[in-house]
Each structure stands twice: as C-alpha cells, then as structure tokens.
C-alpha cells in the first residue's frame, strides 16, 4: 500500500518536466538538445524529401497518417510472411500464417499489441526488430503526432494549419522516443533484461535435466514497449517473464516509462491552451498565475479528472486482490498474501495491482501478472478502464477521447443552465456535437457488437477456456482490449483462430482510425470558427464544479453502455465466488 503511494509521488515529480519538454517539442520551441538533433532531423528530412514548413489542413494531415501507416503495414506484413529466411533467425522460426500475420500487423500498427502468438516460438529476431520494435516507435509517434495536431486545432492559432505530419512524426521519434528508449533500455539491461542475438541456450541443470533459455534483443524492445505505451511482449508472458522484468527496479522503470508521456500530453495541452489565452488578453494576473501553474488551467481540469478516475480504479483493484480467493481459503490455503495465482513473488500484490490498473488506464497492455487469474473485481477495473479509454490513455489518444467527453459535458451543462456551449473560446455547435456523439458511440458499438457475435457463433465460443460468468468476461475483455488499442488479454482465451484473428483485427482497425478521423474533423471544424470573447454567459471549464461534472458524465455514460454486460460478467462472478 505504502509503496504504491511513494511510486505515485515519484511519478508526479517526473511527469511535470516531461510535460514541459513535450510542449517545447510540439510548439517548435528551443530545447537543450537542438544543436545535435537538428542535424539528424535535417538529414532525415532530406532523405525523405520532407519539407517541415509545408502546412497541412486536417484532411491532408489525416491522409498523410493513413497513407504512411498503410505503407508501414504492407512492409511489415511482407517481413512476417518471409521471416523464415536465414537472416537474424538463429532459432529457425517459420513464416507466420496469413490470418495471424494480418492480426499481428494491424495490432502493432494501431498501437494495440494484442498478441495471438508467443514471441519466443513464433517470431524471428529480424521480425522482433524490424517489424515489432519499428512498429512500436512509429505507431506511438503517429498517435502523438495526431494528438499534437488535434490540440493545435483546438487552441487554433491559424485557420487551417495543423502542422506537418512527417515533421511531427520524425521529431517525436528523434527528440522523445529514441533518446528515452536508449536510456531506459540500458537501465533495463543493467537490471538483467537480456540484449543479444544468440539462439536459445540449453542449460544442464544440477539434477542432470535440461532447461531451454530463450533470449534475444529484448531490452531494445522492452523500453519502447512501455515508452510508446505499446505493450507487446518479447515473450508470451510479457512483463511477468523475469527476462522482461527481472527486479522491482525494472518494474518501476517500466511503470514510469508507460505513465510518463500520456500524463505529459495533458500538461502539453494545458500549456498550449493557456498560451493562446494569454496572448488574447495579456492580463498581468494571468501571467503571474501561470508561473506557478505547471498544467495550465484547462490542463488541470483534465489532469484532476483523470487522476480521480485512476485512483478509484486502483483502490478497487488493490483491495480486491488483497482479499484473495475464498475458494482457495476454503481448501485450506492461507490467503494472507492476497490472490497470488498468476502473480510473481518479486512483485507481489501491490505492484501487480498498480501495474494492472496503469496498463489498462494508460492503454499500454503489457502485463506483469496474468489478468485472467485476477479476482473478479480486479478484472472489472481492468475492463472498465479500457471501456472508458480516457483515464490518461496511451499515445495521446486518451487525451483526445477525454476532450470529446469535455465537449459533451460542456454541451450537457450548457443546456442545463442555459448557457452557450463554448470550449477554449470556440462555440460548440450541431456539427461538432454530431461528430462527438459518433465518436462516443463507436467504441461501445465495436465492443458489444463483436462480443455478441462471438457469443452466438460456435467459432467464438470455442475460444472460451474458463466456464461460467468468467467465460463472458474473457470475450468482453478481448474486444475491450482491441477497441481501446490496449492489447492485454484474458490469455486463457484460445484466440489464434481465423474467427478471433479477423474480428479483433477489424475492431482494432476501426477503433483506431475511425476515432482519429472524427477527432481531427472536430478539431478542424472548431479551428475555422471565430473566437468568442469570454463573457458572464460563458461556462467556465476550469472550475472544480466542471471537473466533478466531467467525472460524473464519464461514469454515467459508462454505466449506461456497459453496466448490464459488466453485471453478467465480473459482478456475477464476484457474487458466485463470495457467496
């Protein structure tokens, strides 16, 4: 318990400087590393034929995202299909099958990292590096690029310039992801994560039996896996595997790595929003306040709302896991350490509960314990946070989803007290609200629609490995994870079949790109509007009342869409277990 609190305090100390740095990168302000990195950027621009000054409106920006991601998917798919070639393949891994390759490549391009394969037996080192590690960089960078463009649209300095996608993509990689990955990667190697290119070693144990030890270029993948909130493991058991997460220090490093950038994104947004505001009315009091306010007013509202949701989830998950499993207690096994099935001794219940809540809130999807074996309410929190998909969220997308809910709250509150719905000085009107509604609907539609399909088809039902209410949870979890682009799983599910590969592949694809398209359209539409001056009729979005309304709106919407199905899954299982 105490270690969770200390961990979160250290996180706060890390996230603020990172947010300020991210803000500088996003707004092309000077940073300390410019002298070296400008040279590297210019070289890449030259080779790639990129003109960073070329402005893009939201449609051009979106097209650039889609075409680039499409080409990356194509190249990655080809490599997976021919990975059996004798290059960086010391273990003689075969080519990947068609439907599994489809699922895998969509999964990594959309930053989901749902894995229907086990890395140690299904991927060559070439694929682990040039497909998986590469995708982890570019999918995260694409997400952050879109997020930055979205924020540029909202704070609207110009009428239609959202920036240049290629320049954003490259700068995020060279200035943020790559340097962080190198530092974090080396820290992980120091803790014991392997980084080599040798084949699986067979050890002779002191009993004269044999043990196979799989390793490879793990640390390079492990660092970007968390920094980019990707979550796909080198090995099947992900960050529970000692080679991916050998000590408590490596666990903390991985936790901070995945929590850092999504939190920093909110700070970046807050600073970009208050910058425009201050330009409009240069009141001294405002500037004075800014000096002590790291988040910016609008950023603070969002950061607090996200933190409250996170802490509520964390508390439920922790106490549920500490309570243990009453069926095992009945069988005579002491539950004083909490529910230890599927958890590692070096991490224990505290760090496992913290990791589970974080990985589903920040939509990373790496796991340091097996989620299928979580107690019903532990699994409930994991599922709920993926259904919300805005408790910090991964790679910038969480912030965009949160702002969609902010717009909704502005609209609802505005109607209740008879004020014009405005956000950041722009009127929110019918056109935006239609897109907001669509945006909010697509997520539950994918989760519940496909879950229903799985439950009525034999191909879907065949995947379920645990009977009773938990079986429904397995299906629900798989699609929530796909739609939230999270990637963790109730791994008992036998998911490497044509049915599961294709349905989850489609879910991941639409969840990612349909949402991005609509969100950019909303920002593009708000961007074009005249700024209205704040008046007494304006609903203040930086007040505590608004933060509370925002949290309530989020919970009410989640309850309206997901409560029935959650009652049939984890809640029913809990009641059976504790009967």
């Amino acid at each position: 318990m105490f270690q969770i609190i200390v961990t979160l305090i250290i996180y706060m100390a890390l996230v603020i400087p990172m947010g300020i740095y991210l803000y500088h990168v996003a707004t092309y302000k000077k940073t300390f590393a410019d002298s070296i990195l400008n040279g590297i950027d210019n070289f890449i621009y030259k080779v790639g034929g990129v003109d960073p000054k070329q402005a893009m409106n939201w449609k051009k920006y979106l097209a650039a995202v889609l075409i680039t991601n499409g080409i990356m998917v194509l190249l990655g798919y080809i490599v997976l299909r021919i990975q059996s070639i004798d290059f960086l393949n010391p273990n003689g891994i075969e080519n990947m099958e068609v439907d599994l390759s489809f699922n895998t490549i969509i999964s990594f391009m959309t930053n989901t990292n749902l894995q229907h394969y086990a890395g140690e037996s299904s991927l060559s080192f070439l694929s682990q590096m040039i497909v998986i590690t590469f995708m982890m960089f570019v999918s995260a960078a694409s997400g952050y690029a879109v997020c930055i463009a979205f924020v540029r649209g909202l704070v609207g300095k110009t009428k239609d310039n959202m920036g240049n996608f290629y320049s954003d993509l490259i700068r995020i990689i060279t200035r943020i992801l790559l340097p962080l990955s190198i530092i974090v990667g080396l820290m992980l190697v120091w803790q014991g994560v392997p980084q080599n290119l040798s084949a699986t070693i067979t050890a002779t144990t002191i009993e004269g039996t044999y043990q196979d030890i799989a390793s490879g270029p793990v640390a390079a993948l492990e660092s970007i896996k968390h920094i980019g909130t990707n979550g796909g493991g080198f090995f099947g058991a992900n960050s529970a595997t000692p080679f991916e997460n050998p000590t408590i220090w490596s666990n903390l490093i991985e936790l901070f790595s995945m929590m850092l950038l999504p939190g920093a994104c909110v700070i970046m947004f807050g600073k970009m929003a208050s910058e425009t505001k201050n330009k409009i009315k240069k009141k001294e009091s405002d500037l004075c306040e800014k000096r002590f306010n790291f988040f910016g007013k609008e950023g603070k509202t969002i950061f607090i709302a996200m933190s409250v949701l996170f802490l509520i989830g964390l508390a439920i998950c922790f106490f549920a896991e500490m309570a243990g499993n009453p069926l095992l207690a009945e069988a005579g096994l002491s539950q004083s350490m909490g529910s230890m099935e599927g958890k590692e001794v070096r991490l224990g219940v505290s760090q496992s509960a913290l990791f589970t809540t974080s990985t589903t809130s920040f939509t990373t999807g790496s796991v340091n314990n097996m989620h299928d074996t979580l107690t019903p309410f532990g699994g409930f929190v994991a599922m709920l946070h993926m259904m919300l998909n805005l408790v910090f969220g991964g790679k910038g997308v969480g912030l965009m989803n949160m702002i969609i809910y902010v717009l909704l709250t502005v609209f609802i509150c505005g109607l209740m007290i008879g004020r014009t719905p405005e956000y950041l000085g722009k009127k929110v009107e019918g056109k935006e609200m239609k897109l907001v509604a669509l945006c909010i609907i697509i997520h539950p539609l994918l989760i519940l629609g496909f879950s229903a399909l799985a439950l009525v088809s034999t191909a879907g039902l065949e995947g379920i490995s645990n009977g009773g209410f938990h079986g429904l949870s397995q299906v629900l979890y798989e699609f929530s994870s796909s739609a939230a682009n999270n990637g963790s799983g109730f791994e008992g599910l036998t998911d490497n079949s044509v049915f599961w590969n294709i349905t989850t592949g489609l879910t991941m694809f639409f969840a990612r790109y349909a949402a991005i398209a609509m969100q950019l359209a909303i920002a593009g539409s708000l961007m074009k509007k005249q700024r209205v001056n704040e008046s007494t009729g304006t609903l203040k979005t930086s007040s505590m009342t608004f933060t509370i309304s925002l949290i309530l709106v989020i919970y009410i919407f989640a309850a309206l869409t997901f409560l029935p199905v959650l009652c049939l899954g984890p809640v029913a299982e809990h009641l059976v277990l504790w009967n």
Partner: protein
C-alpha cells in the same frame, strides 16, 4: 493513365521514403546499437545472467527450475515446468519447445481448487511436520510467467524440516543458505522479500558434494 500513375507516385513517394528510413533507424540501427553497448557495459546481464557450474551452463539467476529431488528446495507450480525437461520427455513430445505463461485458471475455475488441493496433499505428505494452515500462499499458486525464480522467505522456511531429513545438512546450515539468497524489500518500501530457489539449491549441492 500515365498522368494518374505519376500523380500516385508523387503522393506515395514521401511516405515510402520516410517509412524506409525510420525502419532502418528504429528497427535495425537502434537495436544493433543497444546490443553493442549492452555487451560492452553489461556483458553478464545482456547474455541472460547465466550461471556456470564446472564450465557448463546450469541455468540463469533470473529463471526458476523444476526440481524433482527431495533434497532440493522446490519452486512454485508452473504450467510449463520452467522449460525443464528430460531427454525422454523431449523425445516423446511431452516437452514441445520453449514457452512462458500460466494456465490462466480463473478464480472460480474448479480446476484451480483441484490443483491446489492435490499439490497440498503431496506437500503435506513430504513435510509431515508442517500444518496445513502454515503453508504460504505463494508456494501452491502458479506464477504468471511459469518461470518465477523466487519464493517468499516463509515458503523457504516451511520446506527446511523436510530438507534437513533428505539432504543430511543441519537446520542452521540450511537457514544460513536461505539467508544468503534472501533479498528484502528495497529501502524497506519497494517490492517484496524473496528467496532465489536456484541459488539455494546450488549451495545445497555444493555442501552435499554433488557439484
């Protein structure tokens, strides 16, 4: 026709070039650079923290093993037997390649209770001095990775009486060995107290003269 092809070519030229160069940097140069730097500064860890006994590799500090002999300390249950196998098991296909993970039994799954009850019975038979309620939680629950190298200090202590009988070592010798392989909470705050089972068994083997 030619014009449209040229137009398409112009549109996709930039993304193709950017993709290619990023693929080279992030997918090849970066992991190769990391491999090089890691092998210079942390050669032991980068290689997998391997343990050598008399010149042959006997395991890794970070991975548990499936110990069968009664005079060795036991790890937690594993769905994959810690990738440990005998020659017959490999030939018969009982061991089918390196893996990781657990059997993912839900808390309500009857197989979970059955497995725990069975393991408990076997453990109590081998350790008659131990009372049922004194068995720590971690010793009979499977880890997430199936490769957990640790057990809790309580789980180590509960095995000692049995080990004294089978190994011929004294209780205080074994207690000392467990202490040597115990790591406590860092700064008294972070993580949990752990005992490395392979480390314990290597010392037992040395004292018994097995290696």
């Amino acid at each position: 026709m030619k014009k449209t092809i040229k137009k398409i070519g112009n549109v996709i030229k930039q993304p193709i070039l950017v993709t290619t160069i990023l693929m080279l940097i992030c997918g090849f140069i970066y992991p190769m650079f990391m491999t090089g730097v890691a092998s210079v500064f942390f050669p032991h860890q980068a290689g997998g923290s391997l343990i050598e006994v008399n010149g042959t590799i006997a395991g890794s500090e970070l991975l548990g093993q499936d110990f069968k002999e009664d005079y060795y300390m036991k790890c937690r249950p594993s769905a994959i037997d810690y990738n440990t196998y005998t020659e017959q098991e490999k030939e018969s296909g009982e061991y089918n390649g390196v893996a990781s993970g657990s059997s993912n039994l839900a808390p309500t799954n009857p197989d979970l209770v059955a497995r725990v009850e069975e393991d408990m019975k076997a453990f109590l038979e081998k350790n008659p001095s131990v009372k049922k309620e004194d068995i720590p939680t971690d010793l009979l629950t499977a880890s997430g990775s199936g490769l957990d190298p640790h057990i809790s200090p309580e789980s180590a202590m509960v095995q000692l009486d049995g080990l004294v009988e089978e190994s011929g070592l004294t209780f205080s010798e074994l207690e000392k060995i467990v202490e040597n392989n115990t790591v406590n909470k860092r700064f008294g705050i972070f993580g949990e107290a752990t005992v490395n089972v392979l480390g314990v068994n290597l010392e037992i083997a040395k004292l018994m003269g097995n290696i």
